[in-house]
């Protein structure tokens, strides 16, 4: 289950692009908090603290006990969205979704595969299709990740959502036949014997000049 971490936040007065840029330079991350039972508010959190939380968690699904300066009660909130700067790195903005402890939430939980090497020893190549799963559960039941052992897979077989073992109190609305991972037949096995067979055939029948003529012709065919 996901741990509930304490996080200090301040009410934010800075608004707009340039003000928010100054805020980021000063070491804060602009954020908002919203929810059914919580009024919308602009807040800011410490950049170092929040980045450390993100880096030490298995996913972006983090439950925090948000202590907002000036508010009497702490707000239990799910990190709903983290905007990353995909070019320069770092976090641009965070959305906190205030949730009630007794109400269902939905979140995207990463699927973590194990036994990949054991499966690939059988001769296939594992293709990971569903990297994360949308789940519904109470905040206290929210898993950090969902583990799946794929060592039992044979070449050509796939594992589906129905085969995932979800923790108690966690459900998904995805159909059971959605593929999570598939052990595919490697394409390289078909390629390898083909050039050897081509090279032998002309050498036996027509001799060396014919073999030389065949070689350039084979090259463009190989490119296609």
């Amino acid at each position: 289950m996901a741990k509930i971490l304490d996080l200090q936040a301040k009410v934010r007065t800075a608004e707009g692009t340039s003000a928010v840029k100054r805020l980021r330079k000063a070491g804060s991350i602009p954020a908002v908090i919203y929810g059914k039972k919580h009024s919308n508010a602009k807040v800011e959190v410490n950049s170092k603290t929040f980045t450390a939380i993100i880096e030490h968690s298995a996913s972006d699904n983090i439950l925090v006990n948000l202590k907002i300066d000036g508010e009497a009660n702490d707000a239990l909130a799910l990190v709903q969205e983290v905007q990353h700067d995909y070019l320069r790195g770092g976090i641009l903005h965070v959305d906190f979704h205030a949730v009630a402890a007794d109400e269902d939430i939905h979140a995207s939980v990463p699927v973590v595969l194990s036994g990949i090497e054991a499966a690939e020893k059988k001769g296939g190549k594992l293709e990971f299709v569903l990297h994360s799963l949308e789940v519904h559960c109470l905040p206290k039941d929210l898993p950090e990740s969902i583990a799946l052992d794929v060592s039992y897979l044979n070449v050509g077989e796939a594992t589906h959502v129905s085969e995932l073992t979800l923790p108690e109190g966690v459900s998904t609305k995805l159909e059971g036949d959605v593929v999570v991972a598939i052990l595919k037949e490697p394409l390289v096995a078909e390629e390898a014997p083909a050039p050897a067979a081509d090279a032998k055939a002309p050498a036996k029948g027509k001799g060396a000049p014919a073999a030389k003529a065949a070689a350039p012709a084979a090259k463009p065919a190989g490119k296609k």
Binding site: L87, K125, L126, F128, P186, L187, E191
Partner: protein
């Protein structure tokens, strides 16, 4: 064969704007590793094909390669030694417009070292600065 659209509404287009950074197509969405551009450019369909060939050959057809860009834009050119006027030139080639941050290619199902090497070979076919990124580091 190099990629090109099967059907277009207009044969010739304006040059358009290349301002700003990539706001979509900037994450590793399908594979585990990706090649991200750090510059803005027009990438020709032949360059994309050269990159694809470089990656698939280096991976020895293991794993999967995802091409995240498509050359939607036609580029025209005037024949040599022609005087000005007489209308716009004929379409010569197709380009994909990429902005800083655009994910160009993605690779899955191979080790990081192999993917990194394949992406390095692909990056050599392009005239833009790129970097190798992983899914884990981006999220």
């Amino acid at each position: 064969m190099a990629m090109l659209p099967s059907r277009v509404k207009h044969r010739k287009t304006h040059r358009g704007s290349r301002a700003g950074n990539a706001t979509v197509g900037n994450k590793v969405s399908y594979g585990e590793f990706g090649l991200q551009t750090l510059e803005r450019a027009w990438i020709k369909n032949t360059q994309i094909e050269a990159c694809r060939v470089a990656i698939t050959r280096h991976l020895k057809r293991k794993g999967s390669v995802y091409i995240r860009i498509f050359p939607h834009k036609p580029v025209t050119a005037r024949p040599p030694e022609t005087r000005m006027g007489k209308g716009k030139g004929a379409p010569e080639f197709w380009v994909a417009v990429v902005y800083p941050g655009t994910m160009l290619f993605e690779v899955a199902g191979v080790s990081e070292a192999l993917a990194r090497d394949a992406c390095r070979l692909a990056a050599n076919k392009l005239g833009v600065r790129t970097r190798f990124v992983t899914r884990q580091a981006m999220h």
